[in-house]
């Protein structure tokens, strides 16, 4: 599941400013909201499907070099962040340390964003742009395969 966060940073970098700055700020907060819903046991139908669709849609956005308005990107990423957070909140192992789990969860997300942004910044160069778009295509494909297994 973690590689999807890398894809998010990658997508943010591909969208350029201000998305490259806005998405990493929005995502942890909305993900935490989803995490709280999961921890509280609030059911959210279709979480796994939402995660698979997130991979496919964002991967395709990178592959097609789509540049939607920032608010659309933020809404899409926010919706996906809820699914990711909810899945992790639900899967919290019993007896685990709350602070360590939460800190690790958020730090891992942030570091993967940074890795994705760093990779996405390759799109400044023509060859890098092709590489990033190809990676987006691969991610979209993986997301579709994951979706196919769920349906």
């Amino acid at each position: 599941m973690r590689w999807r966060w890398w894809r998010l940073g990658c997508g943010g970098a591909f969208l350029g400013p201000p998305a490259i700055f806005t998405l990493p700020v929005v995502f942890p907060l909305v993900m935490a909201l989803g995490g709280v819903l999961g921890i509280l046991g609030v059911p959210l139908p279709g979480v796994e499907i939402g995660i698979a669709v997130s991979a496919a849609v964002l991967g395709m956005m990178v592959a097609l070099a789509a540049r939607p308005p920032i608010w659309i990107a933020a809404v899409i990423v926010g919706a996906f962040a809820i699914c990711h957070g909810h899945a992790h909140g639900t899967e919290l192992p019993p007896g685990s340390d709350a602070v360590a789990y939460s800190a690790g969860f958020v730090i891992a997300t942030g570091v993967l964003h940074l890795c994705g942004i760093a990779f996405g910044l390759l799109s400044r160069w023509p060859t890098g742009r092709i590489t990033v778009r190809a990676a987006g295509g691969g991610i979209a494909l993986a997301g579709l395969l994951f979706l196919g297994r769920l349906l």
Binding site: F21, P24, V25, V26, F27, P28, L29, M31, A32, L33, G35, V36, I39, L40, G89, L92, A98, V99, Y101, S102, A103, F105, V106, I107, G110
Partner: protein, 167 residues
């Protein structure tokens, strides 16, 4: 480890304390608030530790501190201009909660007082040290980095709070 050193390191090793102090340092640096805000924090730490020395031990201090860390982190992430009048009570609330959440484990009075003294110094020094960095964030990318960091702090604090209330 001596009681003084244990107290000195206390704000550094307790995640909730570190989150709250980091959020406050980022907020002060981002807003460009003057000295009165960190001073309010230090005075509140001293008042709180004084209350602990007088055997006042309130409940839910860590939860309060986490909620304040979440608020601080959210304000950093939003990056909207805020009046200094808001910064002072927020800093005081963080300082007071942090101090009240630091009761010494030592049973001997002298050792307990040394631990409290170390905690006061540690809490003040940690904020001052972080301010040395956060007040120098001038470049655009540095300010964005601060917002992202604030967002992480808020997210961590919110998740820990949720887990605390469920268990």
């Amino acid at each position: 480890m001596t009681p003084f050193v244990a107290g000195l390191l206390h704000p550094l090793v307790v995640p909730a304390h570190l989150l709250a102090i980091a959020a406050l340092a980022l907020l002060i640096g981002q807003q460009g608030w003057r000295r009165s805000v960190p001073i309010a924090y230090v005075v509140a730490v001293l008042i709180g530790l004084g209350a602990i020395a007088l055997a006042y031990v309130p409940k839910f201090t860590e939860e309060t501190l986490l909620a304040l860390a979440a608020i601080g982190g959210l304000l950093v992430a939003l990056a909207r201009p805020l009046p200094q009048g808001l910064g002072m009570p927020l800093a005081a609330a963080i300082g007071l909660s942090l101090a009240l959440d630091s009761p010494p484990e030592a049973l001997v009075l002298m050792q307990a007082n040394l631990t409290l003294l170390g905690t006061a110094l540690g809490a003040a020094l940690l904020l001052l040290a972080l301010l040395q960095g956060t007040t120098r964030l001038r470049h655009h990318w540095q300010r964005i980095g601060a917002r992202i960091f604030g967002s992480w702090i808020a997210a961590s604090a919110i998740l820990v709070l949720a887990l605390r209330f469920v268990r």
